[in-house]
Point group: C2
Chain length 128, copies 2
């Protein structure tokens, strides 16, 4: 099968750990967070402000998962109160270019998708 790499990992197999990673990186919030961090390290509060609509809890959870996966680094700066800064790791950087593509695809093709949705919803796609 095409999807099998030389290392034998296969995202189509349920038991393959690749499936877990795919689930993690195929995540709207991860895409947006890594997209910002690839430019510069950013503090928690600024991340939250730049990504409209993300809750404090969701941002915190996603950052924790990304840190656990080795994609994002976390640095506590001993100010009063402590500020926490996040940065992208070399491993995260290998991923972020690809995620960029995904975000840009969404931004570029949104109009075509909206047209398709309208056509679908109007029922002109034929009977089921």
């Amino acid at each position: 099968m095409k999807s099998t790499t030389t290392k034998g990992s296969n995202a189509y197999a349920a038991a393959c750990p690749t499936r877990v990673v795919l689930d993690r990186i195929a995540d709207k919030w991860a895409v947006l967070i890594l997209g910002l961090l690839q430019e510069e390290p950013i503090r928690f509060n600024r991340l939250r402000k730049q990504i409209e609509g993300i809750s404090q809890k969701m941002l915190s959870q996603t950052l924790k998962k990304l840190e656990r996966d080795g994609l994002v680094g976390r640095k506590a700066i001993p100010t009063v109160p402590v500020t926490v800064e996040y940065s992208i790791t070399p491993l995260g950087r290998t991923l972020s270019a690809m995620l960029d593509g995904l975000r840009v695809w969404a931004e570029t093709h949104i109009e075509k998708v909206l047209i398709a949705q309208k056509r679908y919803d109007s029922g002109s796609r034929g009977s089921r």
Copy 2:
């Protein structure tokens, strides 16, 4: 902001429809389905067999969303009983190459991610 395209779409804005599309395409099952369909049209039951662990309901829902977005086409073949075949659309094809990259990234870097997870879980990443 870097993520703004010439058309003014911006996935970082909560109200931008791009956000919805990003959520759709940043989806484990969509990645796996489009990865198979880009090679050839496939019937529902064969898709289900090839993607281990996907339920009938989840496959059906994901295909319906992909069809609504104009990424996948659906053809009912008048056999007895009716068989339904899914194929990738030209719009879907512009997306699938990028999604390939995502899947291959997961398959290629899985070992590094697992090592990072072990290190994180053993607590050697410093105190919080």
